[in-house]
């Protein structure tokens, strides 16, 4: 049902579907229509023009009624096209599922055979088959179906291999299911959408192909005619009587176009990735739609200061308030930790600074980002670009995904330098080597020519750090730079970052979900929950005397090494979905101290000096902290 709604929402697909249904309907009722016999020749009335008495579309070179021939030809072409698609899909899918599920030698053998068939330009194979079996519509059908089997087989095999290694298949095995049952109940339901997609995108193609063989005179034989052979027969009179060619040709075009439109719609409706609208490309800078007043800069000492920043995701008719008014600031030489659970808006906050939030669907809807006193929200793209990587640099989480897989790490470093500084290649290269040495990469001179996949995770992240340092930025924003790494490597990267910041007086915004990391690295910390800062202050003050109930319970529920075997203090419930935030404190549903007042209006983030908390009943009296 959902599928049909989706399909109809897609206007082009709906149009294609309607056109196609009309044609199919017409083809179905053709025998019932009062049409002339399509095969009766009448040489006296050859080449009548469309509109002639009794011949709506005119007649062909033998005086046969074009309308009757067109409709009967359409019937034939559709039947053959659909049949070919069905057979190809059936056998191809069966082969693909077997090869993909069983893997190993079976897979190897089958796929070698398939590769062999795919080594032919497909028409050669079709021609060979027709040559052997002799011209004729059935043989053309066999040929077209046969040459398309490898396509299906390969496609379905790929999907099946992916599925066969999914954990739910293992789970089914452990639940006592045998191979046949697993294929039928676990694999097949997940493969069918792919088969449908592949079919809907190839039926049009197969109709073209069978028409093509008929056009060459190898398909349907006279007097029977499908659309292709009508076109083939009309070719001789192309110049003198073009209408005999245009009529069947236009019909093929209409049919195939209808199928293709519908097929695209089917694909979009069935492919979950496309369904969520994920396949949009992000624009060079996040869209800005700022409403309300622009807050002032606040603290003058901060090199970077976020004021009331709001970033949302507009997906269909939902609005996700990923960042709902965040205030943060960081001074030169300072390290600010931002901590929170997954989905609390840490990354979105970080990316908003330089307009790197994917857009669509992201929109910055309010607040300001002051860098050295200048508001960057809504700044012209070229200006933003000139600051990116030069004044404000990023280090991202997964170093394998964040480095370009096909460029040498050296080239990526050199590029980072040369975008902002007009230096020669050799000079940039020397600087790149120096950078790699600074981040303690052994044999920097040779490592510079490595590709990312040739390095270990820790080494790659060092390259990521080197790239961030390339232009001596004022601020580095590190978004969980060590989460993907093993603890031993994490310890090294953290101490490297700490050293670098002390040496260079860098301001660092360090995002993490690990209190241990914050405690070791950061001067100040801000705790985020549901897109807002709920508590902030000097690290020690916050960790030793958390004031917000969320902070204190989060600290309590994370086991700490050395605590021995024990029961953990769990927080019941889940973090809220940011598209359905209730008024008042977002933590209220999970908070033991929640009162009616907590669920009313906005609660301010307040406190003396560097300490602040967003809570009506804080756990502790705030003391003015000192960094």
């Amino acid at each position: 049902m959902q599928f049909l709604t989706l399909l109809m929402r897609n206007r082009l697909a709906a149009a294609g579907g309607i056109v196609l249904s009309l044609v199919v309907l017409l083809a179905l009722v053709t025998p019932l229509l009062p049409l002339a016999n399509p095969d009766v020749t009448d040489t006296a009335n050859r080449f009548l023009m469309p509109g002639a008495q009794g011949h709506l579309l005119g007649t062909d070179h033998l005086g046969r009624d074009l309308l009757a021939r067109l409709l009967h030809g359409t019937r034939l072409s559709l039947a053959v096209g659909f049949a070919a698609a069905f057979f190809a899909a059936f056998f191809g899918a069966a082969i693909g599922i077997i090869a993909g599920y069983f893997g190993g030698r079976t897979d190897n053998l089958i796929m070698r055979g398939v590769d062999m068939l795919m080594a032919f330009p497909y028409i050669l194979l079709a021609l060979a088959i027709v040559a052997a079996l002799g011209p004729g519509l059935t043989n053309a059908l066999i040929a077209v179906a046969a040459v398309n089997i490898p396509f299906f087989a390969r496609n379905i095999r790929g999907v099946t291999v992916g599925l066969a290694h999914k954990e739910f298949v293992d789970a089914a095995r452990l639940a006592g299911l045998g191979h046949t049952r697993i294929i039928l109940t676990e694999i097949l339901p997940n493969v069918i959408p792919v088969i449908v997609i592949a079919m809907s995108t190839t039926i049009g193609w197969m109709i073209l192909e069978t028409a093509g063989l008929s056009f060459l005179g190898l398909g349907s034989q006279p007097p029977q005619a499908d659309l292709g052979s009508m076109l083939g027969e009309a070719r001789g009179a192309l110049i003198t009587n073009p209408h005999t060619s245009i009529v069947p040709g236009a019909m093929i075009l209409v049919i195939v176009m209808g199928i293709n439109l519908l097929g695209d719609g089917v694909r979009d409706a069935l492919d979950p990735r496309l369904r969520s609208g994920a396949l949009t490309r992000p624009m060079p800078a996040t869209r800005v739609e700022r409403k309300g007043t622009i807050p002032d800069q606040g603290d003058g000492e901060a090199v970077l200061s976020l004021r009331q920043l709001q970033t949302q995701f507009h997906v269909k008719n939902r609005i996700y308030k990923a960042v709902g008014g965040v205030d943060l600031k960081v001074a030169p030489g300072e390290c600010l930790g931002v901590i929170g659970e997954s989905g609390s808006g840490k990354s979105v906050t970080a990316l908003s600074v330089m307009g790197l939030v994917a857009s669509p669907p992201g929109v910055i809807t309010g607040g300001a980002v002051y860098f050295q006193g200048e508001d960057l929200v809504g700044a012209p793209y070229e200006h933003l670009r000139s600051l990116r990587g030069d004044k404000v640099a990023y280090i991202f989480q997964d170093p394998l995904a964040t480095l370009h897989p096909l460029y040498k790490v050296g080239d990526q470093l050199i590029e980072a330098i040369r975008v902002h500084h007009p230096v020669g290649r050799s000079e940039a290269r020397a600087r790149a080597v120096a950078l790699l040495k600074q981040v303690r990469i052994p044999n920097a001179e040779s490592r510079i020519d490595s590709y990312p996949h040739e390095m270990s995770g820790g080494m790659r992240q060092r390259v990521g750090i080197a790239m961030a340092l390339a232009n001596d930025p004022e601020v580095i924003i590190a978004d969980e730079p060590t989460t993907a790494l093993d603890v031993t490597v994490q310890a090294q990267i953290l101490s490297l970052l700490d050293e670098l910041r002390r040496e260079r007086g860098l301001a660092i915004v360090f995002i993490t979900h690990d209190f241990g990391v914050v405690a070791q690295l950061c001067d100040r910390v801000a705790v985020m929950y549901a897109g807002r800062i709920v508590e902030t202050g000097p690290t020690e003050a916050v960790l030793n005397a958390p004031a917000h109930p969320y902070t204190s319970r989060l600290i309590a529920c994370v086991p700490e090494l050395g605590g021995g075997r024990r029961r953990l203090e769990a927080i019941p419930g889940l973090p809220p979905a940011v598209d359905r935030l209730e008024p008042g404190c977002a933590f209220a549903p999970r908070c033991l101290k929640a009162s009616a007042a907590c669920r009313e209006g906005d609660i301010a983030l307040e406190g003396p000096g560097m300490r602040a908390v967003r809570c009506i009943h804080p756990e502790a009296e705030l003391e003015e902290g000192v960094a």
Partner: protein, 315 residues
Amino acid sequence: MTGYILKRLLSAVPVLLGITVIVFLIMALIPGDPALAILGAYATPENVAKINRDLGLDAPLVARYFIWLGNMLTGDFGTSFSLNRPVIDEVLDRFSATLLLAGTSFLLCTLLGIAAGVISAAKQYGWADKGITFAVLLGISIPSFFLGMMMILIFAVELRWFPVSGMKMAYGGGGFADVANHLVMPAFALAVVATGVVARLSRSAMLEVLRQDFIRTARAKGVREGRVVWGHALRAAMVGIIPVLGIQAGFVLSGAVYIEMVFQWPGVGRMLVDAILKRDILLVQGGVVFVAACYVLFNIAVDVAQSLLDPRIKT
């Protein structure tokens, strides 16, 4: 690198053998006496005797295959009875014409298709994207033979920009201008479908790549958008596009059969269709094996290009 090329060439040997086996088996499907089937209308007693001797048709299937293969390896593809000419000579003559046509089309579809796809992706949902998407849809829905016929009607008959057919090259005359003049229409007609497919694929490959983390990294470095799209993103997208180019080359070769019929192009496709209709089996066999082998070699070139582009492929 040379090692890799050699390795790939070596791995082509079983594929080539497989191709001959497949063609041989398909031809073995022909019902009735093979000698009569091969000779068809030319089945004089001396011809039957000759063919039985040449191809060992009395021998069992496996032996016949090896005799046939052995002949081919020495360059003997048999004789075309309808043309009364060695198959290999005819195929070579015709294939050069096809190569010119298909090669031009392939270049066209690669350049136009990738450019259209990249622009379409970079301007997603903009006017350029919508225009390209519609043109692509039209391109992949129109039968190339119908398109060719319509082009003849419009550009040759109505506008008289290009000649309908009658290229002199095939008969040993005609300079570059003559060839080019005759090439424009068929090459375009042939390129349209493949261009559509390449453009579609490039678009989705680009959309996929543009969402990747490393693109965000490039932007975070301050790389200019033009370079992000045409450098970082296209480079990564090519990894997905190149294999499809290999497949598209096969489609262009296949489509050439129709286009050669429509434009009277003296290529191998037209030769094959004529041969089938005249039931000149040896000519079909030889033509199919030869073209398929060339296509295999072309795909090796594609693999090599891929390995040059993607360092993650072990060479």
